[in-house]
Point group: C2
Chain length 436, copies 2
């Protein structure tokens, strides 16, 4: 079934020029498909004065207006679908915090493409038939669960459809079933580590080899902590339900950037005005799925901040790489006029050895001034020391944050176990400022 | 893909004689397979003085010792698997209330057989490409979720992987997505009905056509209530994870007995001593999966009480039918020496119009005497009536129970909404007698 020992599909090593040609051919197809079958797009393109036939070169994509998550919500549930209902064999939704959920649909061919893309990712980091794959994310509406489930099964690994919660049982199953690969959010993995320790089990004796972590931005320092704790290799997984789900981009064994499958997605990085970012500059990732029959979203604004890493990869794959997500445009906090991503705070904290694995960011307003307080768990052994030592750590954390963020923060050290743990996406920011 | 307009696979209408021949051929294979590849079975058969070659006629199966769920637990996790670990692509578990969980495994061929059996069931009751299938049971470890999910997807229905919980959202999705088929436990369906009413939505205006209900025994009177409430046709689904999961047996449109797929299961009904029950007599269902590579359980005692219905079915399917499950051997309550199944109580209650949809059975011991108390919700409009009316209803319920059970019970009427609701299997019996 796999193309070779190393690659799941032959498309992974297509010559770049061929990928570009295929991309452009498919781009024209998907614009035409959306125009012909989705009234929303026909009207939008007409209003923008652009016709599918006007797309003659790659650059012409800039003529097409962006699609946003608000458009998906406004057309709830099936308004942006491009095929009749009986062709759809799967629905996923993401509920979001406010308003209508985003609903996405798949034809049989969409599902096949999607699952093969996730299989490419798993195969890329070494998942094989002999592996035991414990899938510790939510199934049902969330694409992360079924997406990885189908792909690991397609490869032929022993799939343990674990879902979230009941962490002690998860750990017992890992030991009893000989689990070698896990899929989880990084924050849940941190939680598993703590629970294992409390059960008297050393995380690195569980036998895990590979960890796939996604659904929230995480830093290289967190990677190091996870790898040290479990003795595994930790890989960053990127995807979003609007682009099928997981499997859009994934780190290869180099752990230096995520290959993004350019035969299935047209990739752009744009600045805040929506203009193309300069080569190698960071900006918002904009994706156009090139093979999606059910839901052809043109120039979809992902809200994720990254940049294109323009170098050849020693793994042999020819698809471009994006840097791991720097933050979500949505998650950006503006404090006293300065833009702060929670991922920057995580990056600083996780490289300070005295700092534990959990933190919380609280934003308050005193008078007209915003205050950013970072609550940080410190390692157990620290709290047994002198008060003066604690204060030194506090000052160190504050100094490092100031260096990275250019912002003075309040730092509060708390004992291990004080802050909330998460089984899914972590919610680390508590914004207590009044709504304006 | 389907064999015809009416049947998913051609095996559904095989001449009975051919089914029997196929059954016996496969029976010999599975006994040999277990003997050759599972040390537990080799030892057990040797101890019983029986060799696979001794199985010369169907009746010879009686020489093989039974397998019980305790054997599965004792061989936790993979001790009864008959193939190497790398051939297994799926694990499910059922946690049970005490002791080790039961772990079941599947090869790729097992999964394919299983999903096609569930697809036979769904296709049999009319599920087609045009349908919207909302799967409202737990995914992950429970076989009911993924089993139905894969089958509905194979048929090509629009699958909404809903899982349990968040009932208001479930109802909104049914309306917004145009859901036509649901899969749930009967108790959760009852709960959905109540929540819809509380939202001001008439259940029969949701647009449901087909309901698949399983995972707990339920009565024909409950069927009538569900059908009246939602305006759908309600079908009984039977399965257990040790026999793949759902899809072992299922009602056809006749709603009179469940076709059990005799090309994949060898079917026996035994009495309490393990001897064959007389023709048409009720007893415990004993199943031997005939095609399962990963986990060939020989003569597995399901714990479910039923009988074989020996008549031709007008639907044209040639596979035998079992009566809907009368109760589980495990669920049987012994009160003052009399055997009572919760399903008998349900049967009585659901045919009394004044009685609501929920009840609870409480068993206590006063001195040396067991007391069985049935707490019953009555319909809203009843509680507005006279006290004397209430007492009349109470007496009526008591009388009907006495008739069915041969046992005097205490009956307590409570207001609607008093008793616990369940999203999965209902837990209706509360045994407060001290452990002996
Ligand atoms: Zn690479
Ligand atoms: Zn029939």
């Amino acid at each position: 079934m796999p193309y070779s020992d190393k690659y799941w599909q032959k498309e992974e090593v297509m010559p770049p020029k061929e990928i570009e040609e295929l991309q452009f051919k498919r781009l024209k197809w998907v614009i035409r498909h959306a125009y012909d079958n989705v009234p929303f797009y026909r009207q939008r393109l007409k209003k923008a004065g652009v016709h599918p036939d006007d797309i003659k070169r790659r650059e012409d994509i800039a003529k097409i207006p962006f699609t946003t998550k608000e458009h998906l919500r406004e057309n709830y549930p099936f308004g942006l679908f491009a095929v009749p209902k009986e062709k759809i064999i799967r629905i996923h939704t993401s509920s979001g915090t406010s308003g209508k959920p985003k609903v996405v649909g798949y034809t049989r061919s969409d599902l096949e493409n999607w699952i093969n893309m996730v299989a490419r990712c798993l195969y890329m980091v070494g998942v094989r038939e002999r592996d035991v794959f414990q899938n510790m994310v939510s199934y049902t509406f969330f694409t992360g669960g079924l997406g990885f489930h189908y792909a690991a099964e397609l490869i032929g690994a022993m799939v343990v459809p674990a879902g979230t919660g009941n962490t002690e049982r998860q750990i017992r199953y890992m030991l009893d079933f000989g689990t070698t690969v896990i899929h989880a959010t990084p924050s849940y993995a941190m939680h598993i580590k703590e629970v294992a320790e409390a059960m008297g089990i050393k995380p690195d004796e569980i036998g895990l080899k590979i960890g796939c972590f996604g659904a929230e931005p995480w830093s290289d320092n967190t990677r190091k902590r996870l790898e040290d704790a479990f003795g595994l290799k930790a890989y960053d997984s990127y995807g979003l339900s609007e682009m099928n789900g997981p499997g859009v981009a994934f780190e290869c064994e180099e752990q230096n950037g995520l290959h993004i499958w350019a035969d299935h997605y047209f990739i752009e990085i744009v600045d805040e005005e929506g203009n193309p970012a300069a080569e190698g500059e960071k900006g918002e990732l904009v994706l156009t799925p090139l093979t999606k029959e059910a839901l052809p979203l043109l120039r979809y604004k992902t809200g994720d901040i990254t940049f294109i890493m323009d170098d050849e990869c020693s793994c042999g794959r020819t698809h471009p790489k994006i840097h791991r997500i720097l933050g979500r445009a949505d998650d950006m906090i503006v404090v006293r006029g300065i833009n702060v991503f929670p991922s920057q705070i995580e990056h600083v904290l996780m490289q300070i050895p005295e700092v534990g694995d959990h933190f919380q960011v609280v934003i308050t307003r005193r008078g007209s001034l915003d205050e950013l307080t970072v609550r940080v768990e410190v390692r157990d052994e620290i709290f047994t020391g002198e008060l003066a030592d604690l204060d030194k750590i506090r000052q160190k954390v504050q100094r490092e944050l100031q260096k990275e963020l250019g912002l003075r923060t309040n730092v509060e050290l708390v004992e291990k176990g004080t802050l909330e743990r998460f089984v899914g996406k972590a919610k680390r920011v508590l914004d207590l400022r009044e709504e304006v």
